[in-house]
Subunit: 338 residues, 2 copies
């Protein structure tokens, strides 16, 4: 696909999460320790299944956001470590359940847990991790943080159910789709960012700023993921180009191509998405149509729009290494599509 983003100023080095990684390194070591210990159980299969996914090389972006957001407001205690681990467990539980719901075979370049241990284990170990996430939050003892994260858990599930309705439905509008990803992806980013100022006892406006940052970062992140599924490169993605297409997922690149296409092209999309005529030849045609209508480029453009909102959300906050790192995460997310 070869979509290339202009970097705006044309001079800047590629954005990376190196700064965020650096700032949160010491805390993340404790988070990772906690993750390993809380994924443990006398029931052998639980750590096996959990660690398969936990050790599969996710970036752990969400817990790092929690840590940086707490540091940013001068938080000096230990609660952010537990909350960050909770956030990652919520995410892991969602992935385990997602793979069952989507009948996925691969994730992060590895066979999914459901392919190795079955759907049953994936559902139940997901439940276990969600339970452990709540226990850690309870240990932290902040009812505000509990409220924020438990609301996110509900919203994520709502988003996933909405997605079932959207699946294979080409009449899904861009608005419908945004509502889905706001719930299923952005809600956790939002909560992950907001619990930082919450435990740091920051002002209401600071909480709102981080919440907005998280929401919009999450939207951008998901849209770029959707674009990458049609344009990324197999190695770095750990999944094949066109996975969403083969699964009949209606994501923004498909929505834009469908709405901008001719009647004949819309028929093609219907056969592909609704009737599973989605082999290699069809994928090639789909990529051609996306290219013709600029659907990937515009998906990235939409992502950039939400990235701007995330950036402005943090604008009033005073400068700090954490603020710079969180801003760079936005660019990193969007530049992944290069």
């Amino acid at each position: 696909m070869g979509v290339v983003l202009s970097l705006g100023d044309g001079k800047r080095a590629p954005a990376s999460i190196a700064r965020l990684v650096d700032l949160t390194k010491a805390d993340m070591a404790r988070v990772n320790e906690l993750i390993l210990s809380k994924a443990g159980s006398d029931v052998e299969m639980i750590p096996e299944v959990a660690n398969h996914l936990i050790s599969s090389g996710g970036k752990r972006l969400r817990p790092m956001v929690t840590l940086a957001a707490a540091q940013m407001f001068g938080y000096a205690g230990e609660k952010h470590v537990k909350l960050a681990a909770s956030v990652e467990f919520m995410h892991t539980a969602t992935l385990l359940h997602d793979d069952v719901v989507d009948e996925s075979g691969m994730r992060r370049g590895k066979r999914t847990a459901r392919m190795i241990w079955g759907n049953q284990a994936s559902v139940l170990v997901g439940d276990f991790l969600l339970g452990q996430a709540f226990r850690m939050m309870v240990e932290v003892g902040s009812l505000d943080a509990l409220d924020t994260l438990s609301a996110a858990a509900t919203i994520i599930a709502e988003g996933e159910v909405m997605q079932l309705g959207v699946a294979k439905n080409l009449e899904t509008t861009e608005d419908d789709y945004l509502q889905v990803i706001k719930a299923k992806t952005a809600a956790l980013f939002s909560a992950a960012a907001e619990v930082g100022p919450i435990i740091a006892d920051a002002a209401k406006a600071d909480r709102a700023a981080l919440r907005s940052y998280g929401t919009n970062l999450g939207l951008a992140f998901q849209l770029i993921d959707d674009a990458l599924d049609y344009g990324g490169n197999t190695q770095s993605l750990g999944k094949n180009v066109g996975d969403d297409f083969r699964e009949g997922k209606v994501t923004l690149p498909v929505i834009l191509s469908y709405r901008r296409g001719t009647a004949e092209e819309r028929d093609f999309w219907k056969r592909a998405i609704e009737q599973n005529e989605s082999g290699d030849a069809e994928l090639e045609r789909a990529l051609g149509l996306m290219n013709r209508y600029g659907a990937i480029g515009d998906t990235i453009g939409r992502a950039r729009h939400f990235g701007e909102i995330a950036r402005d959300a943090l604008a009033p906050l005073k400068g700090s290494p954490q603020k710079s790192a969180l801003l760079e995460v936005i660019d990193f997310c969007i530049e992944r599509a290069n």
Copy 2:
């Protein structure tokens, strides 16, 4: 099977939950309202799936136990209503996930949600209800109650995973099996009972008493359920005799029959449970063997043992209508096997 229990004194009327229902009637009306409202969502499919199970005529024993346990210690607020609804949601979420894990077709005489809306919806609506359960607990604001219920959520999931290991494994000992049902069934009864004294700010010994009552009531309840699966009557159960057998579940009646049987009989059990040779003829033979070895009667005997422990757990507490009602629940659970 026609197992008839001696009622001990030979004069007592059959135990019922009428007294418990009566004592908790006003509170339960509010619990039921809350359940309906918190199962609501703008995402249409969620209340549809949730209400299918919620309205399917479960006894709501667990939330009634929570309410009575709170009343018993003079609790006069409103928190017990939310906690009772949380407990029922945790239970409902577990059932939705269980039916997916067990690939069950029927529950309470109705087709399971997964047969109507699919496994995907069952997994995700279960997640939603679990999220809502936590949100209600957070609203209550008692960290002690949150701790107790979130620990239960983890333990239940552990129990379900343990059960995967036990499934189709005839070398499961009675001890192994008790460990499974202690986690998957008794943990929620235990938490449901304990949160009553917790929000009533009762003494530590009272919390321990109710916790022990709940654990042992739960064990008795599950063992009777297991016995009923081989001896109950189809109408009142809402499921067919031998469902566990056909699903290859290793429950106590099977464990006892297997261990007490001859080598030839053990081969029969292996073919039936491990290799799915479990048609009508095999079920008939299984029932015959259970009868020969008294496996159903002894399963009920084991249940009675735990019932006694539950009874003694409440013994030191001063008399009250709630105490009487909770004691009668024990007898009701066990007498279901008549």
